[in-house]
């Protein structure tokens, strides 16, 4: 097969890689992107998007189940709701299909050449792709590694049989009767909550003392409360030891050292993700590593000249929007623009119930920097719009420097608060002070008034509390 030569080669068409390739194409760079599967990566095919579809379906179903049980104050009644998970999954797959097709057509539009197959590096400028039609060699002036990440497997619970990863969970055709989730990070809790709403009896096992350990306790308390309300049992400080002999139970060592057997039809293991740094010839490149990640500088350059790396393979936070921003930046650098990583905020969102969003520093992190800080929260219980949506759980919290009131961090927990990530990050990127937020009219009646009030409260003059 004839060799391809190009200016820019992107390996991996996840959110980092495809954004990089499209932007490079827009900038007139001769670009090739290699993907083993279909474009979209974890995010579009087995992560963000499909899980949100499932979570939405579960939310809707959970609501009508409550209504049918007469548990809603809204006066709505209905009888015997049912869900056909096969149709739900088909609907989800349709969304995924539309999006991946969308990416493919964006490649075309931007003039990006796509090659499908497994890529292996020969050296820093050359890769081989095992395509359906044979080996394709590609030579490039510049290479971007965007190979992403994969779910971490537990040695005691290898994937297979009843033990599934998040990818498998999104493709289940039936709701498991009893689901044990190992790991109470955001992926485990999002999926565990969804299956609980779909009717599964869910138990969550977490080795650390509390759920969502990357967020502070104040922020995650409403989530823990809601899990209890959904009948989800949470075992913290507990470790999965392995499956029972007939694979029908998970053996778990609880916080007090006892071993219990949790009956399970499926065991969802969500104990984190690891960068994909194996199987594509990283050993042929002389790359400095940073732990298990590829070390990059503020322009996403690796230690090898002409080789960039972006996305999950380069470190935490392993989030699609970080990868996208890196991809865009690298494309522009390759096009000769002056760019470097100068983002102040990489917001993080958990689509738990209620949702959690965080931008910038938590009060604790801000104090740890040795600064005197002002911090205040405003509860949705005091927000009119929240009441009208049965969404009184949660709050918005603001932290700022005490000396000049520069906003350092904003968090929220509550129904639908993921959409606040835009407002929060904008405030931080623009260098807002508390007075800027307090001086901005927030529309009434919306939940966003809580943002305004939290800022005013930090300044000592909240109105509605």
């Amino acid at each position: 097969m004839k060799e391809i030569s190009c200016k820019l080669l992107v390996v991996g068409a996840g959110p980092g890689g495809y954004v990089c390739a499209i932007r490079a194409g827009q900038l007139g760079i001769d670009t090739v992107i290699v993907e083993r599967d279909r474009p979209g990566g974890t995010c579009l095919t087995v992560g963000c998007i499909p899980s949100k579809a499932l979570i939405h379906a579960a939310d809707e179903f959970g609501k009508v189940v409550r209504m049918s049980a007469g548990k809603t104050p809204l006066g709505i009644s209905l009888a015997d709701p049912k869900i056909d998970l096969k149709r739900t999954v088909a609907w989800k797959d349709n969304i995924v299909g539309r999006l991946t097709n969308g990416v493919t057509s964006l490649f075309k539009k931007a003039g990006v050449k796509t090659v499908y197959g497994w890529a292996t590096f020969r050296d820093g400028k050359t890769i081989e792709v095992a395509t359906e039609t044979g080996l394709q060699v590609i030579r490039a002036e510049t290479v971007v590694i965007a190979t992403g990440s994969a779910p971490v497997e537990l040695p005691s619970l290898p994937f297979g049989g009843p033990v599934i990863s998040s990818t498998d969970a999104l493709a289940l055709q039936d709701v498991p009767g009893r689901l044990v989730v190992i790991g109470a990070g955001y992926i485990g809790l999002e999926l565990g909550t969804a299956f609980a709403k779909l009717g599964a009896k869910v138990t969550v096992v977490e080795a650390l003392p509390r759920i969502l350990p990357l967020y502070d306790a104040e922020l995650t308390r409403p989530v823990a409360k809601r899990l209890a309300g959904l009948g989800v049992e949470v075992l913290t400080g507990a470790k999965a030891v392995g499956l029972g002999p007939k694979m029908e139970v998970v053996r778990v060592e609880t916080a007090d050292g006892k071993e219990v057997a949790l009956p399970a039809d499926k065991v969802l293991v969500t104990v984190g993700r690891k960068p994909l740094t194996e199987g594509w010839g990283i050993e042929e490149l002389v790359l400095d590593m940073s732990g298990k990640f590829i070390r990059i500088d503020e322009q996403c350059r690796t230690s090898m000249r002409g080789v960039f790396a972006i996305g999950d393979v380069t470190g935490e936070p392993m989030l699609a929007h970080r990868a996208m921003a890196q991809g865009e930046m690298v494309a522009e650098i390759v096009a000769g623009h002056q760019r470097s990583w100068d983002k102040r905020s990489i917001p993080a969102v958990c689509f738990t119930d209620p949702e959690v969003v965080s931008a910038g520093l938590s009060p604790e992190q801000a104090r740890a920097l040795g600064r005197e800080v002002l911090t205040a929260l405003f509860p949705f219980q005091a927000n009119g719009r929240a009441m009208t949506m049965l969404a009184e759980e949660g709050f918005i919290r603001v932290t700022a420097r005490a000396d000049n009131h520069l906003v350092l961090g904003i968090q929220a927990v509550g129904q639908g608060v993921s959409e606040f990530s835009a407002a929060f990050s904008l405030a931080i990127e623009m260098g807002a002070r508390l007075e800027d937020i307090a001086g901005t009219i927030h529309a009434h009646p919306t939940q966003s008034e809580a943002f305004h009030e939290a800022a005013m409260r930090a300044l000592g003059h909240a109105v509605h509390i």
């Binding site: 002056q338 100068d342 005091a382 709050f395 003059h461 509605h464």
Partner: protein, 436 residues
């Protein structure tokens, strides 16, 4: 729990008010008995105010720089037991700490929010929080601490990047030191200093320093002296070769325990001799009463530089002290002034003053009279200069005296006679010691 009010005590004889120069406590502090609460300054001395009892500071009654009358309350303490206030003023109720969710409030809030339109007008404004410091935001100049990341919106950062401007070098004029597009314009217009990180850069910072304490006293005193007294300044040179020889000999021979002699005690003794012939120079002029108080005692003020500024220590009755005694007293007082232990009477009562900067004394100065005195003698730097002796130049140790006089009561002639007399005494130092 009671309240104990601490009033400004009588801090010195005849002192009716004092300036508060330092707080050692702030509201909310717990203090023990005898802990220092504040420092106040009278005309010359700084006095610390101790706490008479254990307690918690509720209120501070003056700002730094404020003048407080003796007997007026300066601190209120919350103390165990009755306290010392008969009539209890309602103490300001402490607000619950900010950021602390109080669950009890929530039901009210719901009601409030439910009738939101009404509540918008009805809600009582929250009282201004106590003791909230007003943030001082500089309007220009780099507001960032060293090493801190520059604050700028993404569009500004992008533009800087493309223009090759290092934002760390751009002063931000926006709130919290935020860098604006205009700041980049200004930076570029000034000529980018980005290529020369160690180069010259305009520093537009303005630091506000409150003039308080000793500095304010000095300022007032200097302004008073210069606005009230028409100064005449007279500069003459003195050949101190013989004096220096004598001084060196005396220092070499001096008995153990005797102070090292500097030039000052000789000058003081010479002044005593000259004043005995011209008592008009050793006087206090009360210009409001129209009276000149000519003092018999020669109380020589010695201007002394201290950490916080200029103080004048006073050697009382120089006419009754020999040269060694003068030297010892000067040394003792300057030490006391520098470590802040000088007493009020050691810092007041002078009738004529000497100002000397030693090796920093320069060629000539225009000393400011220590009001309400009428004369001040300034000592300039001694140096070896060529002097024509009629046939040749010879090296001599020469020193200038720059002296100012109150021209309202001292004529130029008298001033000149006075300095010429001192010159003669210093040039032939034996004359200082010859009696009769």
């Amino acid at each position: 729990m009671g309240e104990h009010v601490i009033k400004l005590p009588d801090v010195g004889e005849g002192v009716a008010e004092a300036e508060l120069v330092e707080w050692h406590v702030k509201v909310g502090d717990l203090v023990r008995e005898d802990a220092v609460l504040a420092a106040v300054m009278t005309d010359k001395a700084t006095v610390e105010i101790p706490s008479p009892t254990d307690g918690e500071v509720l209120w501070l009654g003056a700002e730094i720089g404020e003048t407080v009358a003796v007997g007026s309350p300066i601190v209120r303490l919350k103390v165990a037991g009755e306290g010392n206030t008969a009539v209890k003023e309602a103490p300001a109720e402490a607000k619950p700490a900010k950021g602390e969710m109080s669950r009890q409030n929530v039901p009210d809030l719901r009601a409030e929010s439910a009738g939101k339109t009404a509540s918008l007008v009805e809600v009582e404004p929250e009282p201004a929080p106590l003791e909230r410091p007003v943030p001082r935001l500089p309007v220009s100049g780099p507001a960032r601490d060293a090493g801190e990341r520059p604050l700028a919106a993404p569009a500004v950062r992008l533009r800087a990047k493309e223009a090759g401007v290092d934002l760390r070098q751009v002063p931000g004029t926006g709130p919290a030191g935020r860098i604006t597009h205009d700041d980049i314009d200004a930076f570029l217009a000034r000529g980018r200093q980005v290529a020369r990180p160690t180069g010259l850069a305009p520093n537009t910072a303005v630091e506000d320093v409150k003039v308080v304490g000793l500095r304010r006293k000095i300022a007032e005193k200097m302004a008073l002296a210069k606005s009230r007294i028409p100064h005449i300044t007279y500069v003459e040179e003195v050949d101190v070769t013989a004096l220096e020889d004598l001084r060196a000999a005396l220092n070499k021979e001096k008995a153990a325990g005797r102070p090292k002699l500097t030039l000052l005690p000789f000058l003081m003794r010479a002044m005593v001799r000259a004043i005995s012939e011209q008592p008009a120079l050793n006087a206090i002029y009360d210009d409001e009463a129209g009276v000149i108080h000519r003092h018999g005692g020669v109380h020589i003020g010695i201007a002394t530089q201290t950490q916080s500024g200029l103080l004048v220590t006073v050697v009382h009755h120089a006419e009754a002290r020999d040269i060694w005694d003068c030297a010892a007293e000067v040394a003792r007082l300057s030490e006391a002034a520098r470590d802040g232990t000088a007493k009020r009477e050691e810092l007041s009562g002078s009738t004529i003053t000497i100002t000397s900067l030693g090796a920093m004394g320069g060629v000539a100065t225009t000393p400011v009279i220590n009001h309400p005195e009428v004369a001040i003698i300034g000592v300039n730097k001694m140096m070896v200069r060529p002097v024509w002796d009629g046939t040749q130049f010879i090296p001599r140790k020469m020193m200038n005296l720059s002296s100012s006089f109150d021209h309202r009561v001292i004529d130029g002639w008298d001033a000149a006679v006075f300095i010429q007399r001192i010159k003669a005494l210093l040039e032939t130092p034996a004359l200082i010691f010859v009696e009769g």
